[in-house]
């Protein structure tokens, strides 16, 4: 199974600023995903990060707010822009390996916006 590392594990940010979260996988993966888990809620898919092309966003999420990069088969970043307190959540990176149906998850980034 792939091991996924996320950085930072937590951060406190001022409103109006941005936070970039890094996701590093220890092996090449086909698909990478970013999820948000708001307090008391389940995980919601933000976007699928495609290597070599723009990310594909789910309804309710836009590139201007959540720009994503995927420069290679083991790395992706999610930026949460123009932060507001409503962005306070846990953000999780996930990945799938070729030939395996299940996804693997990082430990998450806990973001608090003040």
């Amino acid at each position: 199974s792939a091991v996924i590392s996320q950085k930072p594990s937590r951060d406190i940010c001022q409103r109006g600023t941005s936070l970039t979260i890094q996701c590093q996988v220890d092996s090449q993966v086909t698909m990478m995903f970013w999820y948000r888990q708001q307090p008391g809620q389940s995980l919601t898919l933000i976007a699928t990060a495609n290597q070599g092309s723009e990310a594909t966003y789910e309804s309710g999420f836009v590139i201007d707010k959540f720009p994503i990069s995927r420069p290679n088969l083991t790395f992706s970043t999610l930026t949460v822009s123009n932060l507001s307190p409503e962005d306070s959540s846990i953000y999780l990176c996930s990945a799938e390996q070729e030939g395996l149906p299940e996804a693997f998850f990082g430990q998450g980034t806990r973001l608090t916006v003040v």
């Binding site: 698909m31 995903f33 995980l43 699928t48 996930s94 299940e102 998850f105």
Partner: protein, 115 residues
């Protein structure tokens, strides 16, 4: 819209009690179904999965789940829980997205097991 519903928000059991957590999904067609577990302070881990074949699937740590197509259900069971099963459990079918497929998650069930 494709959705998933977990019936129990918080379950409290004593050790050795039996466990069943309900999960229903809203769509038909080909389904790939998963249960994930998140132990305190740890990341999400795969508990078990159903892809095809025998509708009764077995996972790690004595957990099993049964896929009942007619009921759109994928309930998780364990005959005898242990204190170490205290965790949050998520039912997660795969849905079709613009980019392919991805997991969608139920609201999760917090299981507390007392010794």
């Amino acid at each position: 819209a494709q959705s998933v519903s977990q019936h129990n928000h918080h379950v409290i059991l004593s050790e050795a009690a039996s466990l069943e957590l309900g999960c229903n999904y809203s769509y038909g067609g080909t389904v790939n179904l998963f249960w994930y577990v998140q132990y305190p302070g740890q990341h999400l881990q795969l508990l078990l999965k159903y892809f095809s074949g025998d509708p009764l699937v077995k996972g790690i740590k004595g957990f099993e789940a049964e896929f009942i197509k007619s009921k759109f259900s994928f309930n998780l069971r364990k005959p005898s829980v242990q204190w170490s099963d205290t965790a949050e459990y998520f039912c997660a079918p795969k849905k079709v997205t613009q980019a392919g497929t991805a997991l969608i998650f139920g609201k999760g069930t917090t299981l507390s097991v007392s010794s």
